[in-house]
């Protein structure tokens, strides 16, 4: 099937198999390898991207379902070389070690902050429940999300929500 998807601001039209998952379309066809695959049961969240502004696990969406949609991946967050505040907060708070889960964590965190701009620790932990990390024990990730929330408070020029 022929589909058109706008990914990180660029529009791509491609022929895809109906069974192809969005994550594989992003990685293999479009070349957006920042989004990664960590499991085959939608448990790990490493493949999280924004589909029309909402976080989704791109392993649980068919590529054809994204026809006409706007997708933001980790590679589309930084603007003009300036990191998104959540990316910056992950760096500032040592919220990653091997970094494999990080793209998904960051995409999920941005969506979480769009829903609740000032989350307490418990809210952050629940908001990240679908994203697994094996390195950090989550503490610094939680801290990073709360740090980003402070930096994104009114007065900041940084938008929340990628595209």
């Amino acid at each position: 099937m022929r589909i058109t998807v706008t990914v990180d601001g660029t529009t791509y039209t491609d022929e895809v198999e109906p069974r192809k998952l969005l994550v594989h379309h992003l990685r293999e066809t479009i070349g957006k390898t920042g989004t990664v695959v960590g499991c085959d049961t939608s448990n790990c969240g490493s493949c999280t991207v924004h589909l029309n502004g909402q976080s989704v696990k791109s392993c649980s969406v068919l590529a054809v379902q994204a026809d006409g949609a706007e997708v933001t991946t980790i590679e589309g967050l930084a603007r003009d070389g300036v990191l998104h505040p959540v990316q910056q907060a992950f760096h500032d708070n040592h919220a990653l070690q091997c970094g494999f889960c990080t793209p998904g964590m960051i995409m999920q965190s941005i969506d979480l902050l769009a829903d609740d701009p000032d989350p307490d620790e418990d809210t952050v932990r629940h908001g990240l429940e679908g994203n697994l990390c094996r390195c950090t024990g989550y503490q610094n990730i939680v801290r990073a999300v709360q740090d980003a929330a402070q930096k994104l408070k009114p007065g900041s020029h940084q938008p929340v929500g990628g595209q």
């Binding site: 499991c39 992950f90 070690q97 494999f100 932990r125 697994l132 024990g137």
Partner: protein, 811 residues
């Protein structure tokens, strides 16, 4: 050249590595491609033990996109036997371990055929067209049954399921007394059998390998912890000349010991790529990973602790059964041996005997998993110390203090013959108790018990040490390990004054690029940003023994430091020549050589440029400002710490909630406090997971019932608490940096702290043991007087508690 204003070592430097990781500009193996790439998919055995009577791959060969299909028989000559580098005894039994099964499968998940196709999806599609007929053999799952007379055999040709029997006896070794005498003389005996459940490393990046044989050298990219060891082992296993192999570990998404391996898939990928003359890639699914990447732990520990009524421990006897699974992988037999030296932990009891039988079963092979042997040992002794305290009506911390090595007794030679260089258990414990609010929590615990609160409070203590910095090569040799414990490094000062550091220690999340830059910046007086660290490629980093066992800083960074010393020595000679003074007249500081007592100076950058120009060098000095060095430690290092955990146990549901977790670790000198803290957090998460959540479970047919992340419970952010961490700093005297290693600390210490807390919360119900993971069902059952091994995540047949003495369970 700008001299750094303050020392880099000790500074909370944000990581260099993050820039690519937070923006998705990463080189995971599965992100890589080369022209003409083909994809591999493996067909895996659905049964745990069977003869292969036939494999029909004809239909699969004709499926769309399929280039070739190979069975074990097709590759038998080329695939070799997978290596085991640690024969712990001369008479160790080891089966042939083919990468693709040839006549027989010995665990569910063992690969039996491989499809090569143009696309990954086509390769997986074609697996369905392969017909395999199996003739079932009896399945051996329970270690105790496996070593009984007349047991069914995993490998009939070996004639036994016992791989090796290894003993350390302090009386025989001359390092301590006779444990049987200690037991005979004991006023108190604590006898228990503990089970270390089988765990799965579950690194987040699935394993992946890409082999390109089309160049002058064959290049292997692999998500591995051990590019150097892998290169050698692939050469030895497949007969590929070593100099024709280049192994690259690009960005690697976690390891935890799980990528310390020469995998069947790496060997098959190399063999298939070579045979076809085409590049191939294989990336596992998570289900494949859980099933066939090696598992960890899986021991049954029979323990006897001897003590006097006054609380003095007089001896410990350990009898282990260690599950090897179906084959011996790279260091499988040695994992319990690493633990053998840690059962005595921080205590100075005088008699010790350790005996271990390594057992084959029809399960996924085991091997190193975070801590490798040491968490198992620490769990046992720390649980026993709590049981002794309960028996004697003593406070568990006070009892530990009575038995541990005092600060002024270091260096101390243990009952195993290890010399602990430094430590201060008093300081770490005092700090931890204060942070924890120990006395207040004990008071609350008493109050809740008296009140008969539905939610009971438990307090768990764990004091630990481990041996890091693997290892002095001569010691590894004495333990029959197949390699040394040195590490290699090189430093190249480029003509512009920028510095390249080459390290044999290959990182997968530990922040080597940052920490090594800090060390070199201080040593050479160059800016942190001017240092580039190269690792994980046998071409740019030709020598090394890679990353495991918390050896990177203690051994790897020491090699870097030695290489740096050589660079400074050479630069000094050149600077003295240029400045026409004696070498001894020069002081080196902040990147500059200064003539003592004068303002005359020249920078390292000037020297580097002079070396490049080579117009006027001292006689016999080659025009380069670089050096290489290896470091082989004289001893292990011994980080230690005190961990305290408070849990709330709902006695009506058995649900355990961690109320507070405090730890004070002493890892010697800290190069980068945020990296250290991060390593501790991650370690704690894995240790807590063993205590409360994770267990690889097989059903009675040997099928892994926890074969997806929906069943195998890797904890999420919701499942883990906030950790209060701090540290004391007692520098190691084993190495010049004073560092001790930190990667495994949290995992080793936290499991017993949590289980001690859970048992403590419900001890007044007559409970003195709960099998890990302490699931609500197990805790509830223990409170209500049932057997403590009930209520796992699924079937327990493979767990092997059936015939083990559980009298130490519910009182």
């Amino acid at each position: 050249m700008t001299a750094t204003a303050e020392p880099e070592v000790g500074k909370a430097r944000l990581r260099k590595e993050d820039a690519r990781l937070i923006t998705g500009r990463t080189r995971w193996t599965d992100n890589l491609s080369v022209p003409g790439l083909l994809h591999l998919a493996f067909l895996r055995s659905p049964v745990a033990h069977a003869k292969i009577t036939s494999i029909d791959v004809e239909e699969a060969r004709h499926r769309p996109g399929v280039i070739a299909v190979f069975t074990g028989r097709d590759l038998a000559e080329a695939q070799g036997s997978l290596p085991c580098a640690w024969p712990i005894t001369a008479d160790q039994k080891a089966p042939t371990a083919p990468s693709l099964a040839v006549d027989q499968v010995n665990f569910a998940g063992e690969a039996v055929a491989v499809v090569v196709a143009r696309g990954n999806a086509e390769a997986h599609d074609a697996l369905e067209a392969i017909e395999v007929e199996y003739e079932d053999l009896p399945v051996v799952l329970d270690m105790t049954a496996a070593v009984a007379d007349g047991a069914d055999l995993v490998h009939a040709d070996l004639g036994t399921n016992k791989s090796a029997h290894w003993v350390f006896d302090s009386a025989e070794a001359g390092t301590g007394g006779d444990v049987e005498q200690a037991i005979a003389d004991a006023e108190v005996l604590i006898e228990r059998t503990y089970r270390q459940q089988r765990l799965i490393p579950a690194f987040m990046e699935p394993r992946s390998v890409l082999v390109d044989p089309t160049g002058e050298q064959t290049t292997v990219w692999s998500a591995t912890q051990i590019p150097h060891i892998l290169r050698l082992m692939l050469a030895l296993t497949t007969g590929t000349p070593e100099h024709k192999l280049r192994v690259i570990a690009p960005d690697v998404g976690g390891g935890f010991g799980g990528k310390l391996q020469v995998t069947p898939e790496e060997v098959v990928s190399l063999v298939v790529a070579t045979r076809l003359g085409k590049p191939v890639k294989w990336t596992e699914t998570r289900s494949e990973s859980l099933l066939s990447a090696h598992h960890g732990r899986d021991q049954v520990q029979k323990l006897t602790l001897a003590a006097r009524r006054d609380g003095t421990v007089t001896g410990l006897k350990v009898d282990l059964l260690a599950d090897m699974g179906a084959y011996l992988r790279l260091v499988t037999p040695g994992v319990p041996i690493l633990g053998a030296f840690m059962f005595n932990a921080i205590y100075k009891f005088p008699a010790y005997r350790f005996a271990c039988t390594n057992v084959f079963t029809n399960k996924t092979p085991t091997d190193a998993y975070r801590g490798a042997g040491r968490p198992e040992a620490t769990f046992a002794i720390e649980r026993l110390m709590d049981e002794l305290a309960a028996e004697l009506g003593r406070d568990p911390i006070e009892l530990r203090e009575q038995n541990w090595i005092k600060h002024d007794e270091f260096p101390f030679t243990t009952v195993c013959g290890l010399e602990y260089d430094t430590g201060n258990y008093e300081a770490a414990t005092a700090k931890a108790k204060e942070m924890f609010g120990y006395d207040a929590l004990r008071a609350e615990q008493r109050e809740r018990r008296e009140r008969g609160d539905v939610v009971q409070l438990g307090i768990g203590t764990s004091t630990f040490t481990e041996m890091c910095g693997l290892a002095p090569s001569r010691v590894l040799g004495s333990l029959s390990y197949g390699a040394g414990g040195w590490e290699h490094a090189a430093i190249r000062v480029l003509p512009s004054g920028k510095v390249e550091v080459v390290t044999g220690s290959s990182a997968h999340g530990q922040g080597h690029e940052t920490a090594w830059s800090q060390i070199v910046a201080d040593q050479l007086g160059v800016p942190f940003e001017d240092v580039e660290v190269l690792h994980g490629d046998t071409q740019s980093s030709p020598k090394g023994l890679d990353t495991y066992g918390s050896r990177s800083l203690t051994v790897g960074a020491m090699a870097v430091l030695k290489a740096g010393e050589k660079v400074i020595r050479k630069a000094r000679r050149i600077a003295a020549h240029t400045m026409e003074c004696a070498e001894d007249d020069l002081e080196f500081s902040g990147g500059k050589f200064t003539v003592k007592g004068t303002e005359r100076s020249t920078g390292l950058t000037d020297v580097a440029l002079a070396v490049f120009a080579a117009h006027d060098l001292p006689d016999g000095v080659e025009p380069s400002l670089d050096s290489e060095a290896t470091f082989d430690p004289d001893n292990f290092s011994f980080p230690h710490g005190t961990h305290l955990c408070a849990v709330e146990v709902d006695t009506e549901t058995g649900f355990v909630k961690i109320r507070k977790y405090v730890c004070v670790d002493d890892v010697g000198v800290v190069v980068n406090p945020i990296i250290v803290e991060g390593q501790v957090h991650g370690g704690l998460a894995q240790g807590l997971a063993q205590a409360l959540y994770e267990e690889a479970v097989h059903d009675e047919s040997g099928t892994l019932t926890t074969g997806t992340l929906a069943d195998y419970l890797v904890p999420s952010a919701v499942d883990l608490p906030h950790f209060d961490t701090d540290r004391t700093e007692t520098p190691s005297t084993t190495n010049q940096l004073g560092v001790k290693g930190v990667g495994e600390a949290g995992t080793i210490a936290s499991t017993p702290a949590v289980v001690n807390a859970v048992v403590d919360a419900v001890r007044h119900y007559g409970v003195n043991d709960i099998q890990m993971p302490c699931t609500p069902m197990r805790v509830w059952t223990a409170i209500n007087g049932g057997p403590t091994d009930a209520g796992g995540l699924g079937g327990e047949a493979g767990g092997g508690l059936g015939s083990i003495d559980t009298s130490g369970g519910v009182a």
